[in-house]
């Protein structure tokens, strides 16, 4: 036993042998899916979580994939952070994901933690929900009753809460590929691997002449600042049709900051987090635009 190890309370454990098996087990009372376990197990050791049954889904290798399928990038829920970080196709179409993955935790966590787990943990300070929200991704949820798809922007219903019900499992994330677009994610943390003090992701689809590009569509994801569904909807709306320039981005940042509801904690006071929402939104938009225009 490691010195200093905290011990969880009693828990049953079963390894799912198929997706159907996993869904059956997850329908039991107080069952939790165990993927990377990097959030769930610490919570259990601190006795903040005490599920009756852990359903280990790590054997469901069919849920681990990244592939381009028509005009969507499909990412299996069991895909490890490290795989997404290293994915050339994800990096080519969605640099926001590479940006985000590079600053999520540390290599050890990224080697084992999963994309699905990260979304389902629904930590209000997690990076990926904001990145996928900015991308307007869709998630696929399977249950005994069949398959349903839910926009990421409707997936998180509150801190540590999602629409995934008992007997259901998130299996996939689908990200729409947009022409003439790019993206970026920026984070401020107190130390590498720490949760963000604040982070912002931006996705821009540009139109108009190259010399005076115009925002056709914008996606802005914010995390750790109390943005509803991790989205800066008002700022997105503001940007539509506006010139993709410094003035628009700064104004969008200010709007994003106005509409979030950060809470003071030891990572920083409320005014600082609100400032970061503005600053990081503007910076992410600037970088996304530069990338879309091939300048970065």
């Amino acid at each position: 036993m490691m010195p200093g190890m905290q011990v969880p309370s009693h828990v049953e454990y079963e390894r799912a042998t198929s997706l159907e098996h996993a869904l059956t087990l997850l329908a039991g009372p107080d069952a939790r899916a165990l993927a990377g376990g990097h959030s769930l197990i610490p919570m259990m050791k601190l006795r903040l979580a005490a599920p009756e049954l852990l359903v280990d889904i790590n054997g469901l290798t069919e849920l681990s994939f990244i592939r381009l399928d028509g005009d969507e990038l499909r990412i299996g829920a069991l895909t490890r952070h490290a795989d997404l970080l290293g994915s050339a196709v994800a990096g080519e179409y969605f640099p926001i994901l590479t940006d985000a993955e590079r600053v999520i935790a540390d290599p050890v966590v990224r080697n084992w933690g999963t994309i699905g787990g990260s979304l389902c943990q629904a930590d209000p300070s997690e990076d990926l929900p904001a990145a996928f929200a900015a991308l307007r991704a869709t998630v696929v949820i399977r249950g005994a009753g069949g398959v349903r798809t839910v926009p990421v922007r409707e997936f998180h219903v509150g801190p540590y809460e999602t629409v995934v019900g008992p007997g259901e499992l998130l299996t996939e994330v689908r990200v729409p590929v947009l022409p003439r677009s790019s993206s970026a994610h920026l984070k401020v943390h107190r130390r590498a691997g720490d949760w963000p003090v604040a982070a912002a992701g931006a996705v821009l689809r540009l139109g108009g002449p190259a010399a005076a590009p115009v925002v056709e569509a914008a996606g802005i994801g914010l995390t750790a600042v109390g943005a509803p569904h991790f989205v800066a909807a008002e700022a997105e709306e503001f940007l539509r049709g506006r010139p993709a320039d410094e003035e628009s981005f700064a104004a969008a940042g200010a709007i994003a900051a106005d509409h979030c509801r950060p809470v003071a904690d030891q990572r920083g006071p409320e005014d600082y987090k609100r400032h970061l929402a503005a600053e990081l939104t503007a910076r992410a938009l600037r970088q996304a635009a530069a990338r879309a225009l091939g300048e970065a």
């Binding site: 601190l46 107190r190 030891q266 990572r267 990081l280």
Partner: protein, 792 residues
């Protein structure tokens, strides 16, 4: 050293690989939690959720009914044994398990002994404690308010939270200099509460043998001998029936000097159940309840001339000691060696007042490589020198250079009575500036400032006083701070050195073998170092305050020289000459004028055990013993330069470079010295930029896990740039000064000074650690926050 090299003997001092690493890198270390004994039970501590509350009842019935629980111990149980309270290392008392009140969040309330660790932990949830919450004293600056709740009402007649007042220097003389000074500056400076957070948390395995009456305790302790004596005093057990074993220790940093309630509970648990009992705390318990560091609220003042001559330093300190005064420091020094706040400078006067107070926080106060409050003192003076430089518009390196002690002033008596042994400070700072490319950095900074970029260059220069200490002046609970060494020479010339200090990662098994090797001209691999077991090592006070090499290293050199002198007598018999005709060449005693006639230590050792007729003065072997009582302290010094960049939009800091030029006297194993410096530099980065144990207004600890209490990673640490100067300590047998804490002491002010320097365009003169992005941004806004309280 030069002599031995000239004669072709093993150059014992040098970058030898650490002997202990073979077992560590193979996972074969043996720590307290690796100890498994037949029938061993497991303990867990129930801790208070409140910072301050009266206990109205404790119901243990349900826990006792748990099928795997063997005993539940409460404060009432201990009171029956007169063990509910124990003395602290500062002559205060501390509750082992609370009887009347809880006084900090995380305080020990009950102890469960069960068949396994999980059951013990589960049973904690079955204990029902009724608390009547009381207002908590969280802000040290309010602890002495007339209406502040009295924390230590267990002490008869106590009506406030005042612990001590301590003063050093000369108040009147200092006031005179200040009145007369052309320039004075003042600043409020907080060194917030931090925690050493060793990789291995604290724990113990206690095994009381009812038949022999012998108690064996495996413990995470830096001071096994002191612990044994304290157990004898506290528990009334005969000292010869106590054996304390400190196996491999996963980092101490001063946090494993004191005795924690969990150790005592494990001992009582073993006595009560008749079985060995293991208790190992978890990470949160370690962060919340074991020895913190610092928590010094300081006000510094400097008097100077307009041309930058520092004339006097005055300091007043409010020291937050938590709920029990549990600091580990010499009895006569309630504020430790804070008296070195005069720094490395030639002052006309100095004055300091320290007031210690109780608060509803964990006890402790001396940990995290602090050398008895030297970390605080150095931070204070090095921050204040920068404040003065700001005021005078002078370059901070130049200001230091102008005021540093000169080589001809050593031994130097400071205005607070400390006698600095040796140093060449100007050369040391000049070397650091050269390594850093200081003038080029300033030129780059000017250019970047013009472009609106924030770049900072921070300088610190420190002198430590380590190697406590002369027993006439220094003791802990009456135990003088000396250390013993026994050296046994086997017939084949192999040696076993037994020392009283305990390694926690410092490499004693290698360094001390090298000292013996150097004195006797034998390979360091032929010297086995035994430590950490009171049954097989001589008495001494242990490893902390950078005292191992200054004290125990000296003992080792002295005992090896005793062996060498005995060997001379034996050699004289072997060579049939008078001992006076023999000379030592670093590897052999040889006949003066006839160098072919000589004997090595292995040859002599065998002869000492042989049928050779021995002369008077030796009984038949070469073994020797000694106790080293240091004549004075040693004074390592350092010149550090840090370079940072600050993002004004986010407050984020990028640490670009950290140059460290240390002078720790003679370096026995330079590789180990550099390793010590590397670790300390990382410590400093942590404290300067991210670490703090803050408390909210209810006294909840806000740094109780590694999610909240941050350790720096490789991402925050640049590739360290080290340099050295060597001014041997004149009174130490091998001229060594100690280095274990140097970088932890010297790096925080260098990093902070660099960040503050970067913020100069905003007119920033000071901000308190940790300089998180939020704190830096707020400082730029002119609204820094209190880092010791909850951020609101």
């Amino acid at each position: 050293m030069t002599a031995t090299e000239q004669h072709g003997a093993p150059a014992a001092f040098g970058p030898m690989r650490r002997k202990e690493d073979a077992r560590f890198v193979r996972g074969r270390g043996s720590y307290v939690d690796d100890i498994v004994l037949p029938g061993m039970l497991h303990g867990a501590v129930l801790r208070s959720p409140h910072a301050h509350a009266r206990i109205t009842s404790i119901d243990t019935a349900a826990a006792e009914a748990h099928p795997k629980v063997k005993a539940v111990i409460t404060g009432q149980t201990l009171a029956g044994l007169n063990l509910a309270w124990m003395p602290t290392l500062s002559n205060d008392t501390q509750a082992v398990l609370a009887t009347d009140k809880v006084r900090f969040q995380g305080q020990e309330v009950a102890f469960v002994v069960a068949e396994d660790r999980y059951s013990a932990r589960d049973a904690l949830e079955l204990i029902e404690v009724d608390y009547e919450a009381l207002p908590a004293v969280v802000d040290a600056r309010r602890a002495l308010d007339a209406d502040a709740p009295v924390i230590r009402d267990d002490v008869d007649g106590r009506t406030d939270n005042h612990i001590f007042d301590w003063e050093t220097g000369a108040a009147a003389r200092t006031e005179e200099v200040f009145r007369d000074a052309e320039v004075t500056v003042a600043e409020d400076i907080l060194y917030p509460r931090v925690h050493p957070a060793p990789l291995e948390t604290c724990g113990a395995v206690a095994d009381f043998d009812k038949v022999t009456g012998k108690l064996t305790v495996w413990e995470t302790t830096q001071a096994p001998h002191a612990h044994r004596t304290l157990y004898a005093i506290v528990a009334g057990l005969p000292e010869h029936k106590i054996r304390v074993i400190s196996p491999d220790i996963g980092g101490g940093f001063g946090g494993k000097v004191g005795i924690y309630p969990g150790y005592v509970c494990a001992v009582v648990g073993s006595i009560v159940t008749g079985k060995p009992v293991k208790w190992v705390e978890d990470r949160s318990e370690n962060l919340m309840s074991t020895a913190f560091a610092r928590d010094f609220h300081m006000r510094g003042e400097v008097a100077a001339s307009r041309d930058g001559r520092i004339r006097a330093v005055r300091v007043s300190v409010l020291a937050d000691h938590g709920a029990f005064n549990g600091t580990a420091q010499p009895t006569k020094y309630p504020a430790g060696f804070f008296g070195v706040f005069t720094g490395s400078y030639d002052l006309e006067a100095a004055d300091c007042k320290v007031t210690g107070v109780y608060t509803n926080k964990a006890p402790g106060g001396v940990a995290y490589a602090c050398s008895f409050r030297i970390t605080e003192a150095v931070y204070l003076v090095e921050r204040m020198v920068d404040v003065l430089a700001y005021r005078l518009g002078m370059d901070p390196a130049e200001l230091r250079m102008r005021n540093l002690l000169r080589p001809d002033q050593f031994p130097y008596s400071s205005q607070t009575g400390w006698v600095y042994d040796s140093g060449d400070y100007q050369r040391q700072l000049a070397l650091a500036m050269e390594l850093a490319g200081y003038q080029e950095l300033r030129a780059e900074q000017r250019e970047r400032r013009e472009r609106g970029e924030l770049m900072g260059i921070g300088v610190s220069f420190f002198t430590e006083a380590v190697g406590a200490g002369p027993r006439k002046h220094m003791d802990i609970l009456g135990l003088g701070m000396a250390d013993g060494a026994d050296l046994q020479m086997h017939p084949t010339g192999k040696a076993v050195l037994r020392i009283s200090v305990q390694t926690q990662g410092q490499g004693h098994e290698t360094t001390f073998a090298q000292i013996v090797a150097n004195e006797l001209g034998i390979p360091a691999d032929d010297v086995e170092v035994v430590h950490g077991d009171t049954d097989s090592t001589p008495f001494g006070l242990g490893t902390y305050g950078s005292r191992s090499t200054p004290v125990s290293g000296a003992a080792t050199a002295v005992v090896a020289r005793k062996v060498r002198e005995r060997a001379r007598i034996v050699a004289s018999a072997m060579l049939e000459v008078s001992p006076d005709d023999l000379e030592w060449d670093g590897a052999r005693w040889f006949v003066r004028g006839d160098p072919d006639q000589g004997k090595t230590i292995p040859e002599i050792a065998f002869a000492a055990h042989s049928s050779l007729e021995l002369p008077d003065g030796v009984e038949g072997h070469l073994d020797a013993q000694t106790v080293y009582n240091p004549p004075s302290l040693t004074y390592p010094s350092g010149a550090y330069i840090c370079v940072v960049e600050v993002d004004p939009g986010t407050g984020g800091v990028k640490l670009r470079r950290l140059v460290a030029v240390d002078d720790c006297g003679v370096r026995i194993n330079p590789m180990i010295v550099e390793g010590q410096v590397h670790g300390g530099l990382a410590d400093g980065v942590g404290m300067a930029l991210m670490q703090v144990i803050a408390f909210d207004s209810d006294g909840n600890c806000l740094g109780g896990s590694f999610m909240d209490y941050l350790l720096p990673t490789a991402m925050e640490c640049p590739s360290w740039e080290l340099g050295e100067t060597v001014t041997p300590s004149p009174h130490h047998p091998i001229g060594a000064k100690g280095v274990g804490e140097s970088a932890t002491v010297g790096s925080p002010p260098a990093v902070v000074n660099a960040v503050i320097d970067a913020l100069r365009p905003y007119g920033v003169r000071h901000a308190d650690m940790p300089l998180t992005p939020a704190q830096i941004w707020r400082t730029i806004q002119g609204r820094p926050f209190r880092t010791d309280l909850a951020i609101t």
